[in-house]
């Protein structure tokens, strides 16, 4: 059976995920998204993975959520509060969500996942570090290249081409 910490984390995570999508203001929405990401970090702690939990807090709550918050602040004030929604589309979306949750939930409850229990100690984080530099080293290098490429691409995309200044120089 689920313990109290698990139930509280589920309520926080799922509730703030709904709030992130449904709150009128995008600023409050991004703060609610921080709640979801923090809740997931809590789940990682419950799963005896403190290293991944801290990574989640540092990368997601610490940087991605703040980045989103700053982008929201760059957008015009009216657009932050504007909510354009088609009623029929919303009902179809809710129906799609329910069908998906019920069907996937039924498959999971009916599968043999229930029998998987463990009494073994959790994986040591030193083992993860060892994995990274031995078995996964090509993937690690590739990930570094992708990250630097993505950051460079983001900088190039968001660069402002100031035409007036260019003309003045020319």
């Amino acid at each position: 059976m689920a313990d109290a910490a698990f139930l509280a984390l589920s309520v926080i995570t799922i509730g703030s995920a709904i709030a992130a999508l449904e709150l009128r203001s995008l600023i409050y929405g991004s703060i609610a998204l921080m709640g979801t990401l923090g809740g997931i970090a809590g789940f990682f702690l419950l799963l005896d993975s403190p290293f991944v939990a801290m990574f989640q807090l540092a990368v997601y709550v610490g940087s991605i959520a703040v980045l989103i918050l700053f982008t929201v602040m760059l957008v015009k004030r009216e657009l932050i509060f504007k909510k354009v929604e088609d009623k029929r589309r919303k009902f179809v979306g809710i129906a799609l969500m329910l069908v998906m949750m019920v069907s996937l939930g039924a498959v999971i409850l009916d599968s043999g996942i229930k029998q998987i229990t463990t009494d073994e100690p959790p994986v040591d984080f030193r083992e993860i570090g060892k994995d990274f530099v031995t078995y996964y080293w090509p993937a690690l290098i590739l990930m570094g290249l992708i990250l630097s490429g993505a950051v460079t691409a983001a900088l190039v995309l968001a660069r402002r081409v100031d035409e007036e200044n260019d003309q003045r120089v020319n």
Partner: protein
């Protein structure tokens, strides 16, 4: 070390709920930033699954893949947000229905 009091099924069900909410957001919302929120929620649901299975099998691969996934998601958000800024500069709006010239 303490014994796991929660079952694997419970974690997977939370992940399914998050996936459903994310797909609802992608299907219904027309705001670019809200769609990015929905994608983030789906990625987090996948990460939760990987770590949960890694704990219960137990295998270090779950946590390692989750770490890779978090790092790649960070890159994806950086590119997504810069696309939002470029689109906002061009159309002065963040409603995806207005980005008509991006259509093929």
């Amino acid at each position: 070390m303490r014994r796991m009091t929660n079952e694997l099924t419970e974690f997977v069900l939370v992940s399914v709920a998050l996936l459903g909410i994310g797909i609802y957001g992608l299907a219904v919302k027309r705001n670019f930033i809200r769609m990015l929120f929905a994608i983030e929620i789906i990625i987090n649901a996948a990460n939760l699954n990987m770590v949960a299975f890694g704990r219960f099998l137990p295998h270090s691969g779950g946590q390692t893949l989750a770490l890779f996934s978090i790092a790649i998601a960070a890159a994806e958000v950086a590119v997504g947000l810069s696309l939002i800024i470029v689109a906002y500069r061009m159309y002065h709006n963040i409603d995806i229905a207005d980005f008509r010239s991006l259509k093929g």
